[in-house]
Symmetry: C3
Subunit: 309 residues, 3 copies
């Protein structure tokens, strides 16, 4: 049994550096096997239950693909609201029931802490696919895997996180996960949407160098990796301020002339308009490759937590 066997995956900061390395190497191994046309039967005869209390088609399909690519089967609850929960069943009871069907459970839930509550209810491994404003650890791991694949390394990189750093679950989790490496950060946001002080302090305490700016051009010039997120109108009390700021955080192809030659552009998707489509054919536009990297990462996690990797 591997070291992650029977473990839950609840938070992006739960893993030791060794565990992170194991996940990344397992993902790399499965990705190579699929690319080579190998048919895997790691999970043959096993069943994954996806249980989505709020819809997230992208995340659901990525997990289901991962299970199918490992030779396993999938039972799906794409919209759990309309099911037993509607009849007044507690999350505990729902999980105890699904435990009777599936070998491993993927949960998406609108409430912070739901994944932890689910994990406590069952001896089956639970993978957190997002619990409201809480954690979404498989997203952070696929982000890290993408940086490693695109740049060939993680240590030594200057990584710019930009957009709504105040409210963005994705950038908080990624910043903490990357603090396991010898990186430096550039946090790029308007004043109203700056990275929370506690995240900045936590990252600095881990020995990571942090700079902050509200200028996207600086980030493009200095960074190896630019991680874009969306600025949402509804986050601003003052609509006029939103209108003034939003254009400063839209990435256009013309802005990339001063970027490094092996510049990497990431985004958790879906994008609306914060990256213009003329950026898509830039060699460093990695966001669709990033999305595809969710499959090998989730293959690795499914196989590791069930002790079959």
């Amino acid at each position: 049994m591997g070291k992650l066997s029977s473990k839950d995956v609840l938070r992006s900061d739960q893993f030791s550096k060794d565990e992170i390395t194991l996940i990344l190497e397992t993902a790399r191994r499965y990705e190579a096997a699929v690319d080579a046309g190998e048919v895997l039967d790691v999970m043959k005869g096993k069943v994954l239950s996806t249980l989505f209390f709020e819809p997230s088609t992208r995340t659901r399909l990525s997990f289901e693909t991962a299970m199918l690519r490992l030779g396993g089967g999938v039972i799906t609850v794409a919209e759990a609201r309309s099911s037993s929960a509607a009849k007044g069943e507690s999350l505990h009871d729902t999980i105890k029931t699904v435990e009777g069907y599936a070998d491993v459970i993927v949960l998406r839930h609108p409430q912070i802490g739901a994944a932890k509550e689910a994990a406590e209810a069952t001896h089956r491994p639970v993978l957190n696919a997002g619990d409201g404003a809480g954690q979404h650890p498989t997203q952070s791991l696929l982000d890290l895997y993408t940086i490693l694949k695109e740049q060939g390394k993680v240590d030594g990189l200057r990584i710019a996180l930009t957009g709504d750093l105040k409210n963005g679950r994705t950038v908080h989790s990624l910043a903490l996960l990357l603090s396991n490496y010898d990186v430096s950060f550039l946090f790029v946001a308007p004043d109203a949407l700056k990275m929370p002080r506690e995240i900045v302090e936590q990252v600095k305490a881990a020995g990571v160098d942090v700079a902050e700016t509200d200028d996207l051009a600086t980030a493009i010039r200095e960074a190896d990796v630019l991680y874009m997120t969306r600025i949402q109108k509804e986050r601003f009390e003052d609509t006029a301020e939103y209108d003034r700021l939003k254009d400063a955080f839209i990435l256009r192809r013309a802005m990339l002339s001063e970027a490094k030659s092996n510049f990497t552009i990431m985004h958790p998707l879906p994008r609306v308009n914060e990256i213009e489509t003329d950026v898509d054919d830039h060699s460093g536009a990695a966001y669709f490759r990033q999305s595809a990297n969710g499959v090998p990462i989730r293959m690795a996690l499914l196989a590791l937590v069930t002790g079959r990797a």
Copy 2:
């Protein structure tokens, strides 16, 4: 070909004692195989269609898991209302169409008799997963299987059915199925929700001893198996009577002190509050194991009716 090959599963009272024994033994065999980590390919290359005209996530997932554990594939219509039926297609035509895709069909429908109508439309086996206030035979079979597993036998047991015995499809079907065995019944309900006379007469005609009470404590003291169901407020014309009665039919841990040492507590789930959560870690609290038993029972039925067991 086995004796259930090409048969439909429509009612819990359709089976001979020999057929019931065959189903239970087949379920036991598949459960042991899965527990031993065997990968089954009994249904390899075959396709199950689940067709749910009303949502029942628990039942759907249990059937789908059963098919996957047998190595088969599944096509799902989780909410058939929004499909062809909405375009005015008859159930007959829907079934004739699905017959062109699937080797076996699981139907859930809000109308009594829908499963029979479906079975008459097709030469494929149809499994009734609940037709309104009608039948839900796979639930009764998994209940029976649970009693057998928990108690090691069925003959000789005193079985208490409690809750809304007047309207409960589940308890009616189970009472009739258990009448194939040498059991005695204790029907525990308030006057307004007593077991219908025709069920009592049918059970007695089968030679089963029946007693009735409205006192849950008596049942706990006397019975080997206590089968709980919910008392629903909307069943009472007089709300005050509901408020007076409901507490008398809630099971609490403290009430179990006088129970037999190998007492078994069952419930078809979902529960709302009729079994308090402090009962869950009682060794006889079997309701989540009962739910899990749906998988081997449905594996047995799927394999038997397709002639592959």
Copy 3:
């Protein structure tokens, strides 16, 4: 690699006669294998994504069954409206994302041209499962396959298309596809719903003989194959005209006495009342067999476009 490898399937008029023959022969081969109880693993380890931006349960289940019968896996978005598209994501981005999961994509979309747009976004093969009033090429191919199976040939047949020929996507596509063969057409419709002139001209230009009538009895007497479609009330400006006409286009068993002995009756389904149920046990009532033929045709297409047939 076969000649259709890596191709998209977007329009029923995209195929050469050789390609049509290849598809029909591949379908026949897979159908024979399934009928013989063979378990195919042509698509083992591969993943199909069905992506339905409007519901079409029949078409979705047929494609999913086809993939499962080939040994592949399926990820499903049965109602894509409630997913990322609702967050403002473009079809291009959705397809680029799904490309990261699946080996082949089936798209149903309410807008004409959506399948073509999807195909241009990805290097994965895209199969058009209906794009609004546009094309539905797999329906036309299964219609053709049905005629071939029911009649043993296509050349030399007199084929009557009837119902709403003005607005019917299905009959337009089928007429064009059949123009590859030495057939003659009888277009049977009320004046208000006649076949569009451009389709008639295109068919004639391909060398096919065309006659038109508004009399269903003539079609039954003369044709080898009668293809029924529905006349929808909402197509008529004048409701009185609808009421006058509708009965003339309902097929009843008594009307078949003058039909040829090997007469074939087809319908794309679902029917509402345009074929009375007493027609169903006529030996030539092929509409449910026609629906079932969708599976081998879609097996053939999935295997051919992924280069695995």
